[in-house]
Symmetry: none
Subunit: 232 residues, 4 copies
DNA sequence: TATGAATGAGCTTTCATTCAT
DNA sequence: AATGAATGAAAGCTCATTCAT
């Protein structure tokens, strides 16, 4: 009576949970949270309606689960990425690029993350607390480090700065989702970083930040970008 | 067949429409769009359920109507505000301040604007098009003017810049709504503008904006957000 | 204070009642009783919604009023028509022709009469009693006369006979309404009468009834009719 | 994913659909289509309101389903009945008898069939097309056969004849429903057939049908309808 | 573990009718 | 007599959730 294949079953269980997650993301990205029925998700995941309730408490819990999964992945990826470099400014760059890269790589996921997860105050609060707060804490830590190293003006508030950075990046992502994704989201990282990091910089020491220099390398692509932006 | 009291009735009609709008904002701010029933709105507006449908096609149209009303007010106010000054940088500052002032003055309105109006892709698209596009066009226009006058670096993309500015301000507003509004929203205008305008600026003329200097005076209380916010 | 124009007002009142009747027939013929709102009728009659209730107790009463009006007209016309001839068989012919002529002359009226007035048991009962009973009584009386004069077999039951005649004529009318009225309804009178009167006749005295002879005069039109019928 | 008890469930499903049909017929016969709520039908069928929608798309589809079911049964019964005899006239007699027998055996069904299924033009059209057309085609075919065998006058139009026959039978049925069914409906078959078949006949071979002779035996009780009807 | 038929609360919306003007 | 804005009861339908199999 003792299950000898416990671990295999465990894997299958995780697989099925994952399958339901994936299905939910696909269906909800197209129909929205309230426009999607539990039956639709079940059908897309190729399980029975009732089976969903073996893995999730209710429809809402499913959405929350998706959020937590996304955030866990984002954070662990973010942590490993910033470990690769020592320079705080470079860390910020990498985080923003990863953020936009991840969303830009999965349109449905981006749609869920930018819109469906925020469909009411309750979700928004949950969204802005817990996991997202970790994200902000990491960013704030880096900003403080940069301030200590004289790369960012000492007088700016790290919390506000993190908000501004996130807000700008978030707006880029949302806009990309709503614009039927007809341009590369990750390409928005550089111009965004240019402006904000420049705004944060201590310009008297070094008139142009490392970012600005890196940006300068992009060179003539800027014209493309501007053209693209205006063609929307 | 002709109404003798046409004008009076017309006024009453507008008043009632306004009353329903107000009621909807109050109730939806607390319960969310899907958590609010038409009956609840009707009761809050002190009209019968059916009366709502004399003024709005359906529940969704009611939300759309609120959005249009808000945006019309914001835009007309914004236009009159930027006419008062000639300097483009000053115009941007005033717009941001007005934006945060308006939302900060009505918590329920801010909640509707920041969250409920965006509860699905359909609304988001409507939100980002039409009226909001006017808003962006105005901001872009000012940015271009500032570039021509040498106040903003010529190489930044006005479209992206407008997005960044809006994203930062929007994030400030959303955060304020989710944080149970325990600090002054409009006070977020200055630090936000400081960073972004600084990032946009041609730093050789004026190394530090007046805002940055004012900010610097606040000193070292940066750890405490509320203090920071209120100290502005 | 005494109305000197009482009679004129009375006329206007009747006119308005008539106008509402007409409007109701037009609108209901297209949308059906339940598919038509009181407002639609009011608008078509160019009166306010509330005005309808000055002339009718409720929506149902309006339909009943239409029925009574139609029947009164049909019966009075029928009575005057049968007075013009003495022969009972000829009377029956004239009644059937009048019946189909009246309905065939007004498509909307036919639609109301054949379908909307019968939309539930309650109306059907009212329909088959009162006014329609007068109609049947007249037909039965003529059938009895024809039996006394040896034109119709004495053993047939006048009540059943009247039902059969009405049923056949009624089916013709209903079919015409449903078939988008692409043929002449009154043309159905002769072949219908041919079969039924022939079935009622005392064929040993006169192998062909007067009707059959009259019908023979139609001659070659029969081919047209058959062709038309089959083309449906 | 595969149901092990598929066949049993399938049977139960059909049974439940049937149960809902029955319930709908009972309730609608008393209250009419518009006078009956979905909840009433569900309660009568002893299922939940929502269960109805697992078997029918909407309230209207339920009515349509009933119609199709009735017609399928009528037509298959009709086909088997007319195969039992070779004589076309006898076939017509049997069809009419079956028609009135079926309706006369279930008062509620008759009520639905004669009245509720025809409650607006849309239903009438659906009623007169599709299934009912099959019925008419069968009757027309028999009439043509009878014409070829010299039993029905060659000059009568089969289409019109079928309409007259149906109209007469239909009126009998409707009248029976409205008359609180205080006599036997199937007894109306003989006198109806007597008149119409006599009207269609080629009277030189057999001056009087067997039906007419049988009818003649009833004698002089013709004043009393019930007696007449029951004496058949 | 998995199923999916069944549930029934709860929603939006309609519209005949009223009544203050 | 005429108006038409306001009413609110009432209905059809959906769908998250349950539970017998």
């Amino acid at each position: 009576m003792v299950s000898k294949t416990g671990s295999i079953r465990e894997i299958k269980k995780i697989e099925k949970k994952q399958r339901i997650h994936e299905a939910a993301i696909r269906v909800m990205a197209r129909n929205g949270y309230h426009g999607t029925t539990v039956s639709q998700i079940a059908k897309a995941a190729k399980v029975a309606d009732g089976t969903l309730y073996l893995y999730f408490q209710n429809k809402d819990d499913l959405l929350v689960g998706i959020f937590d999964e996304i955030m866990d992945r984002f954070i662990s990826e973010g942590l490993s990425v910033i470990e690769e470099v020592a320079d705080p400014i470079e860390k910020l760059k990498r985080i923003v690029e990863l953020h936009l890269h991840n969303l830009g790589a999965d349109e449905d996921l981006a749609c869920i993350f930018q819109i469906e997860l925020r469909h009411n105050v309750h979700h928004m609060k949950r969204f802005s607390q817990s996991k997202l707060r970790q994200y902000f804490n990491i960013v704030e830590r880096i900003i403080r480090d940069a301030q200590e190293q004289g790369q960012i003006r000492p007088e700016v508030n790290p919390w506000i700065t993190a908000k501004i950075l996130f807000g700008a990046v978030d707006e880029m992502a949302t806009n990309w989702v709503l614009r039927t994704r007809d341009y590369s989201l990750v390409d928005m990282a550089k111009p965004t970083l240019d402006i904000i990091l420049n705004g944060l910089g201590t310009h008297h020491e070094e008139p142009r930040s490392a970012v600005a220099i890196a940006e300068a390398e992009v060179g003539d692509h800027r014209g493309d970008l501007a053209a693209e932006a205006q063609s929307q």
